[in-house]
Amino acid sequence: MTASAAPIELLDTLLVPSRLFGPLRVPASAPIRFPDGMLGFGGDRRFVLLPAESDGLFWLQSVEEGALAFLLADPFPLCPGYIVELAGEEPVPPPLVLCIVTLPRAAGETATINLQAPVVLDLERRSGRQLILNDPSRDTRHPFDLAARLA
């Protein structure tokens, strides 16, 4: 896909070849660095966070691997009483804690969210990591009504 008009050159941007959204041009400062990658995807260390049109939903798109994107959701409204303990002092501003959504594979199934392994994002310092909570009772496939959130 090439633009017919001369593209306006901007400094300090980079192109994220997203397979999901097409090529995205973002500021060079936008990528969030995951020093350990995401569990199972250790080689992909940089992601951009894109808020979806619905509140509480986001996409985490890999910068290097265009086909790698996670759908994330704010877990707290979906799971009352959900608490994530982080080591160390409270950074200012506080981190964004989101959980990975698995979409239903067939009609009639619900989307699920992984409460056992939240993704913690420090938007100020542009860093992120995925945690495994020290609480095996937290569901890795907690069902929730995705359609209701999109309405």
């Binding site: 894109l50 707290f76 979409l103």
Partner: protein, 290 residues
């Protein structure tokens, strides 16, 4: 610190969303004369379900690796539980035979029982999962333990690849679990002292049994942590694959680049990126949900 909500960030991000929406409106007015194909305009270009499996390098293979490693970790956990039980039994025997109620006769009989405990530990050390011996380090084709408890395996760390360039340690070596932990040594000492030792020397073996038991618990904790890590990696493989089934048709004529380069002249580039995704996202997901 405890995190119980994302309310502060949501406020910031909500304003970004509404800025992006306002920008979209302005842009539509500016470019009303241009023919920009958009997913919502063109049914053919509307989001179609498309598996981008090829883009996820080898995800199926990684999934298989995750399943295989999980089986090994489960086996290791079971073995460690059983070793713990055997050491506990040995401690009971040591305690009873180090007391005044014991006699030469009972000690001889108990030594024979401890010999059987050692046999069981060796058997556990030679556990196989599928065609592989689990606890020989990289020596997976031959039994790592001889009957006398000596270790013939190596100290190679077993690993599996569960993502691109992502290696995880799987099971421990037999030396770590049975030799260096002191399990075999402590049981052997107990058997020998029961045969030829005194009350004091029999009692003296209890420390070694306790230490070996504690080390077994440490290995169990490591095993548990690895199993949880593996579970989450498997979940992520599932989740990212399912996200990618919501992808637009590449032939759909969605001229994002045109739209975005225009908008870059107007506004912050990241907001422009949000905008282009917003247009696709809602349609994609609702199409998918239908």
């Amino acid at each position: 610190m405890r995190v119980t909500n994302n309310m502060r960030q949501e406020q910031v991000l909500r304003s970004l969303r509404s800025n992006a929406a306002a920008l979209a409106k302005a842009q539509e007015q500016i470019s009303s004369g241009r023919r920009i194909e958009r997913a919502s305009d063109d049914p053919v270009a509307a989001a179609r379900l498309m598996r981008s499996a090829r883009g996820l390098r080898g995800v199926e293979q990684y999934r298989r690796n995750v399943t295989g490693v999980r089986a090994q970790l489960d086996a290791e956990e079971s073995v460690l539980d059983q070793v713990g039980d055997l050491l506990t039994r040995a401690k009971e025997l040591a305690t009873s035979q180090a007391s005044d109620t014991a006699s030469a006769k009972t000690r001889t009989a108990t030594a024979a029982e401890v010999d059987r405990l050692i046999e069981q530990v060796v058997q556990l050390g030679n556990t196989k999962v599928g065609h592989e011996y689990l606890f020989g380090g990289h020596q997976t084709a031959t039994p790592p333990f001889q009957a006398d408890g000596s270790y013939l395996g190596d100290d190679g760390t077993r690993q599996a690849e569960i993502g691109a360039g992502y290696l995880v340690d799987t099971t421990h070596t037999g030396r770590q679990l049975f030799s260096a932990s002191g399990a075999i040594g402590a049981l052997t000492s107990l058997r020998d002292e029961l045969r030829t030792g005194t009350t004091a020397t029999i009692a003296g073996t209890i420390t070694g049994l306790d230490t070996a038991f504690d080390r077994t618990q440490v290995h169990l904790a490591e095993n548990g942590a690895r199993a949880r890590q593996l579970d989450v990696a498997g979940q992520n493989l599932d989740a990212s694959e399912s996200s990618l089934t919501v992808a637009q048709n590449a032939d759909g004529g969605i001229s994002l680049e045109e739209t975005t380069t225009r908008m870059l002249a107007i506004q912050n580039t990241l907001q422009a990126a949000y905008l282009s995704t917003n247009r696709l996202l809602n349609l994609s997901l609702t199409e998918y949900m239908r």
